[in-house]
């Protein structure tokens, strides 16, 4: 049998039952690889459930620094009898299957092209540990110890990590270390270690990843820190996976960093609202009153917030909303990742509304863009929605460190204080003095006789006086459109990269690819795969809506442009068609909407197929069949 070989380049997947303590052991595994300085990207694939259902943890190791999903599994570690058949079937030919051999595998669980590595995990733990909970928990640590030998993980790093993890609970360190050693010892005695797939410190072909500097963090924590650094004082929310940890982390950091030293009182307020309507109402109220306020939610919450988003758009109240996208309504798939709120967010609410969207692709960008979202919301006096997703928000990503410029000042936009009101000749809340569509705001309580007005939705004139005149309405919404034009020069520009040189191109079509958020990493990888096959593709990563004019130019400069995204309807493609007036046949969709993050192989396969069958503009393939 030909076994898969490779140094620092493979995919390991863990198949567990949730609620059994596997998460921290799996994290230990990934973190150890990270500490070895090898690019790694772990992903949780978990159910909407607290205990007893299947859950997976996929770890990609890539010396080239590809942090997106590749597709396929080289080594499966399966300790979940419920899913064992599918798990075995998903292993690549030549791959490895590590399982609990306490009981023999059912006879039908056979494959000739896979190396089976049985470890009697249950039996070993029953023998070694007394308490039932410990037997269950440490089984996970035993398999990490086994993998340490099989893949050559630096053992002392594992031990260090355990000491970090159990700081303050030192009693737990020794049984954990013992469990690691048990696994390590068993496999060294029973199998040839390390396997042909293995790790090696110092082998890193990714110049953009400086292992000594990189951090491992999830997008939600980064966004929460962005809210702290961006000066948010009010967080209002209603719990919903996968956004919950944004406010959890905000609360944790605020309790540390936002306590008034003199009085011990809080320089922040966290309001757990009764629902998302109220959460958004609280944000609108706080922002109207001049505090920086935000909420975090996911698709269903976004739907509930849309009435208020419309009001905030028309009343021109700054709002920061972090939308952590998941798969659709109800329960179940919602713990899976998608980029499927694009249109719902861009055009959320009634009447003519458009909202500013930001698309972070890394935790670092989650941090930077959250800070920026507060500035943009105040500069533009409008809702700004940061479009994260489950994959980015809840998984740990290797990221360049967060950076802070101590000279940063919050950009509060055009707010008139008492002095400002006294110095201005005629003030009208909706008077466009500067011609950029952005008018001067006043805050309640500012001036004894000037600047007060009744904030309302659409029926008003430039002086904020009630009006139902058609001309006043038209003038107002046209100005809002002008403001949206202004926004184009304020929001983050798209990122372009130098094209990859292709020696003998197989096509003379000018090809381009557009992508955003978590589709970016696997897209870059797919483009490299295709370049090696002779398909040169220029790329642009979208970072905000409204779209920068360079995006129009990019589309016009190419004959065929792939829009790579994670939803069924090609929502970004639709938004581009709509906003840039681009003919549908120019943009081809590359899609994945299975709930698991898109893989480089899927993207490459769909583009390859599209190029083979040029003309059909929407190419859909289920990722796992690609």
């Amino acid at each position: 049998m030909k076994q898969i070989k490779g140094v620092n380049d493979f995919v390991v997947k863990f198949a567990n039952v949730n609620g059994t303590g596997s998460a921290s052991a799996n994290h230990l595994f990934a973190k150890a690889i990270f500490r070895m300085g090898i690019p790694v990207s772990p992903r949780n694939i978990f159910p909407s459930n607290i205990q007893g259902l299947p859950t997976w943890y996929e770890v990609r190791v890539s010396s080239k620094g590809y942090l997106g999903r590749r597709g396929g599994v080289d080594l499966m570690l399966c300790v979940n009898p419920q899913t064992i058949e599918d798990d075995l079937a998903s292993v690549e030919p030549g791959g490895y299957f590590v399982h609990d051999s306490t009981k023999p595998l059912a006879p039908h669980l056979k494959r000739d092209d896979v190396t089976f590595l049985g470890i009697p995990l249950t039996e070993m733990c029953m023998r070694e540990f007394k308490a039932a909970r410990l037997q269950q928990l440490l089984k996970n640590v035993v398999y990490v110890g086994a993998l340490a030998a099989l893949l050559d993980i630096n053992f002392s790093i594992l031990k260090d990590l355990l000491s970090d993890q159990f700081k303050g609970k030192e009693k737990l360190i020794s049984p954990n270390v013992h469990a690691l050693e048990m696994g390590y010892q068993y496999v060294t005695e029973n199998f040839k270690c390390p396997l042909p797939i293995r790790l090696q410190q110092g082998v890193n072909d990714a110049p953009h990843i400086r292992e000594s500097e990189h951090i491992l963090m999830n997008g939600n924590t980064a966004a929460a820190l962005g809210a702290i650094y961006g000066g948010a004082t009010v967080a209002a929310w209603y719990p919903i996976t996968p956004s919950t940890s944004v406010v959890d982390a905000f609360s944790k950091y605020a309790e540390r960093m936002r306590i008034d030293p003199g009085t011990g009182k809080k320089n922040f307020a966290i309001l757990q609202a009764e629902d998302e309507l109220a959460a958004m109402g609280m944000v609108v109220g706080a922002s109207w009153n001049g505090a920086r306020a935000f909420t975090a939610t996911s698709g269903p919450g976004l739907s509930l917030m849309s009435e208020f988003l419309g009001l905030a758009y028309f009343a021109e109240v700054p709002v920061v909303l972090i939308d952590v996208q998941r798969s659709g309504p109800s329960t179940g798939m919602p713990t899976r990742s998608q980029q499927s709120d694009i249109l719902a967010a861009a055009y959320a609410s009634h009447g003519d509304t458009k909202h500013v969207l930001l698309f972070p692709a890394t935790p670092r960008e989650c941090f930077d863009m959250t800070v920026q979202a507060f500035d943009l919301a105040e500069q533009l006096q409008t809702p700004v929605i940061m479009m994260s997703d489950l994959d980015l928000s809840m998984n740990d990503w290797m990221s360049p460190p967060l950076e802070w410029d101590d000279d940063y000042e919050m950009n509060r936009g055009k707010i008139l204080d008492a002095e400002g009101l006294d110095s201005i000749e005629t003030w009208g809340r909706y008077l466009d003095i500067d011609g950029d569509g952005i008018c001067y705001r006043t805050l309640p309580g500012t001036h004894p006789s000037k600047g007060a007005f009744f904030t309302r939705g659409s029926s008003k004139n430039e002086m904020a006086v009630y009006s139902e005149k058609g001309e006043d309405y038209v003038q107002n919404v046209d100005r809002l459109l002008r403001k949206f034009e202004t926004a184009k020069s304020y929001v983050p520009k798209p990122k372009v990269h130098d094209p990859i040189p292709v020696k003998k191109p197989k096509t003379d079509l000018k090809l381009g690819a557009l992508f955003f958020g978590t589709s970016a990493s696997p897209s870059y990888e797919a483009v490299e795969i295709l370049a090696a096959e002779g398909y040169p593709i220029d790329v642009m990563r979208i970072r905000a809506f409204p779209f920068h004019e360079s995006l129009d130019a990019f589309v016009h400069d190419h004959e065929m442009v792939f829009v790579i995204e994670q939803n069924r309807d090609g929502q970004m493609r639709q938004l581009i068609m709509n906003e840039c007036h681009i003919a549908p046949d120019k943009l081809a969709s590359v899609l994945n909407y299975s709930g698991t993050p898109i893989t480089a192989r899927t993207i490459a396969a769909q583009i390859r197929k599209a190029l083979d069958t040029q003309g059909s503009n929407v190419v859909k393939l289920h990722p796992e069949t690609a």
Binding site: L225, T233, A269, D275, M282, V284, A291, P401, T446
Partner: protein
């Protein structure tokens, strides 16, 4: 609340302690139907704020949607206001109030706005004890959408079109009492003598002050058979009058001992309940509920200050908010800086 030196001079009109005249508390001309109860509530709010000498610009007015929610245009023209969305003013007020704890918040809602679409937010507002005055202009119908029964319409009350309401009405004062509101009053838009001091007391109260005001809709609910018409309300009215003496002001009125109960608010203001039934106490939630129930059974409409807990803990206290308003904090208080961020990075390696 902050107090400033007066800077207005009007020759004839009487001035309050800050030197403002009552016209400084006026709003735009009302566009409601002539005789609408809501206009009397606007006038009562204006007078209450004038009499209590609150700087107009330090008041924020919030409302939902409805004829009642339009009224903030018609009083306190120097105050900022927010005409939010239908039934959701409570959340906007909550956010506003934590963002700046130094302003006085007055919320105006309707029975449709509060008892139907906004019921969820209303009870949560009570639960949080947000420091504000919340007035429902209760006409038993949806005025702005042309007279449909609202959820506070009494069972059997006839609509403008002659149909008897088939459902039990929601009594907002009882609901507020049950939900633990720290200040619950009920009044009638036609009873200025009671309503004005009640609003003054509500504003002085620290915490959530709820006032349910029957406010007849002359266009859709003032006919014979409507239980919230002027005449039906007047006929059934059983009013417990009160007086409000703000902090630092001498008590000018003399009350007969034995018929007056005095309640001191946290800021030192005093509420005098006079000519009330001797046995009525404002510190007994259960008794308040029973009185409302009893009054209803006797075909009476009991109004007055029903319950008050002058020492309740408001949301700002519960959240342990700093005394300086959140909207006033700057970089120094809010931004931990690069050194802290570097140590966070270090912890993530």
């Amino acid at each position: 609340m902050s107090y400033a030196k007066p800077n207005f001079r009007h020759p004839r009109l009487p001035k309050n302690a800050l030197g403002y005249t009552v016209s400084d508390y006026d709003g735009a001309i009302s566009t409601l139907c002539a005789g609408c109860g809501h206009d009397s509530i606007s006038a009562a709010i204006r007078n209450a704020c004038f009499l209590s000498s609150i700087q107009p610009h330090r008041i924020a007015k919030l409302s939902g949607i409805g004829c009642s929610s339009k009224t903030p245009t018609y009083f306190l023209g120097k105050s900022h206001g927010f005409n939010s969305v239908h039934g959701r003013m409570p959340s906007v007020a909550t956010g506003a109030s934590v963002a700046n704890r130094d302003l006085t918040y007055i919320g105006i809602s309707g029975d449709g706005d509060t008892a139907s679409i906004g019921m969820g937010q209303f009870v949560h507002l009570i639960r949080r004890n947000v420091n504000m005055t919340y007035i429902v202009a209760n006409n038993g119908c949806y005025g702005l959408t042309k007279g449909q029964d609202s959820a506070t319409a009494d069972l059997g009350s006839l609509s403008k079109y002659g149909a008897a309401n088939q459902f039990e009405g929601i009594d907002l004062a009882s609901l507020a009492l049950l939900q633990g509101a720290s200040f619950v009053g009920r009044s009638f838009s036609g009873d200025k003598e009671q309503l004005e001091p009640m609003i003054r007391a509500a504003i002085a109260h620290k915490g959530f002050a709820f006032i349910d005001v029957v406010s007849p809709c002359v266009t859709f609910a003032n006919h014979v058979g409507s239980t919230k018409s002027y005449s039906a309300t007047r006929t059934q009215l059983d009013a417990m009058p009160l007086d409000f003496v703000p902090m630092r002001e001498e008590i000018r009125t003399q009350f007969d001992a034995g018929t007056s109960q005095a309640v001191t608010l946290h800021d030192g203001s005093v509420i005098h309940l006079h000519k009330a039934r001797d046995d009525y106490r404002t510190d007994d939630r259960m008794a308040a509920l029973a009185s409302l129930q009893e009054s209803k059974e006797n075909a009476k409409f009991l109004t007055g200050l029903l319950y008050l807990d002058p020492n309740s803990q408001d949301l700002n206290q519960t959240l342990n908010l700093a005394s300086r308003p959140l909207n006033d904090l700057g970089k120094v208080e809010l931004c931990p800086g690069s050194r802290v961020l570097n140590s966070i990075n270090e912890g993530l390696r």
